[in-house]
């Protein structure tokens, strides 16, 4: 089993442990793998350890920025959430 496979399995498992549906976790894991491929870097190299990165992803899902209300009103903005690496 390759290091990439181990990383992605650990990542998907961590996502489900954090409350994502298994199907959603698998979809995000597949996207994450593709993003590493497009960058030419390994998963560990690009994202850091799998479990902290899973927490960062789930945090991002919960911290989506809301668009401004139609017809005025202020936008609800959010500073970036946690990251797993500097």
């Amino acid at each position: 089993m390759s290091a990439a496979h181990v990383w992605i399995r650990s990542f998907a498992d961590a996502l489900t442990d954090l409350g994502l549906e298994p199907g959603e976790a698998e979809r995000i894991a597949a996207e994450t793998s593709a993003q590493a491929q497009e960058s030419g870097l390994g998963l560990q190299e690009l994202f850091g350890p799998s479990e902290p990165y899973a927490r960062a992803v789930v945090g991002a899902l919960h911290a989506a920025i809301a668009a401004p209300e139609p017809g005025g009103g202020s936008a609800t903005t959010s500073l970036p959430g946690p990251s797993c690496s500097a």
Partner: protein, 214 residues
């Protein structure tokens, strides 16, 4: 832009003739010609290779040479190929502390920066990473960038689409939505207000202390 010619280094490449740098003809020797790096961004160079194995040897050689030449760390990746040449992208590893400050600053404004870049044109994750680097922020960690893009996506500020790439895997492109443009406009106002506050704070007159510096 200055281009530096890096002469090949003959190393101990084992008994495999493909890995013996001395077996390479003069016409086949690089000069490796890295583009002049800017800040902590990546640089690109083409190296000749008859096979991928030798390219890998060249990767290591190039990495050592650039380390010694510039005092950088570098990560070497093979990317595109054209006949007999590989493109080797050298992504600098930020020298200790060199961009940690800009990284901390960016952390609070990454969403705004991404909205700004995507307002100019749609892009995919790695492309955005390069544009952030080109803007002077250094290398933005994937663990920071991709969750931010996911946050924008889930907030409806960007649309995503997958597109095949001629040179690699499919790419996930991000494109600003109308809601994203509205948030961008709002965040720009917020930024100017915040910046005005900082400017006002740091422009306060400095009183000379009687004791001077300790």
């Amino acid at each position: 832009m200055a281009v530096e010619q890096v002469e090949p280094v003959a190393g101990d490449c084992g008994s495999d003739p493909h890995r013996q740098m001395g077996a390479v003809s003069d016409t086949d020797q690089p000069p490796i010609s890295p583009s002049e790096p800017r800040g902590t961004g990546p640089c690109q160079m083409w190296v000749p290779c008859c096979d991928r194995l030798r390219a890998a040897v060249w990767d290591e050689t190039a990495q050592r040479r650039l380390l010694a030449m510039r005092g950088w760390g570098s990560k070497v990746m093979l990317s595109a190929r054209k006949p007999d040449w590989y493109s080797v992208r050298l992504t600098t590893v930020t020298p200790s502390g060199a961009s940690s400050l800009s990284g901390r600053w960016l952390h609070g404004f990454l969403d705004l920066c991404l909205l700004g870049l995507l307002a100019a044109r749609r892009d995919y994750g790695y492309g955005l990473s390069q544009r952030l680097s080109d803007a002077g922020f250094g290398e933005v960690a994937g663990g920071t960038l991709y969750p931010a893009l996911l946050r924008l996506e889930r907030g409806g500020l960007v649309d995503v689409s997958w597109q095949s790439s001629a040179s690699g895997p499919r790419r996930k492109y991000f494109e600003l939505t109308a809601a994203g443009r509205a948030v961008r406009a709002q965040q720009i106002q917020d930024w100017w207000q915040f910046r005005a506050g900082i400017d006002a704070a740091v422009a306060q007159p400095v009183l000379e202390s009687e004791g001077g510096a300790q």
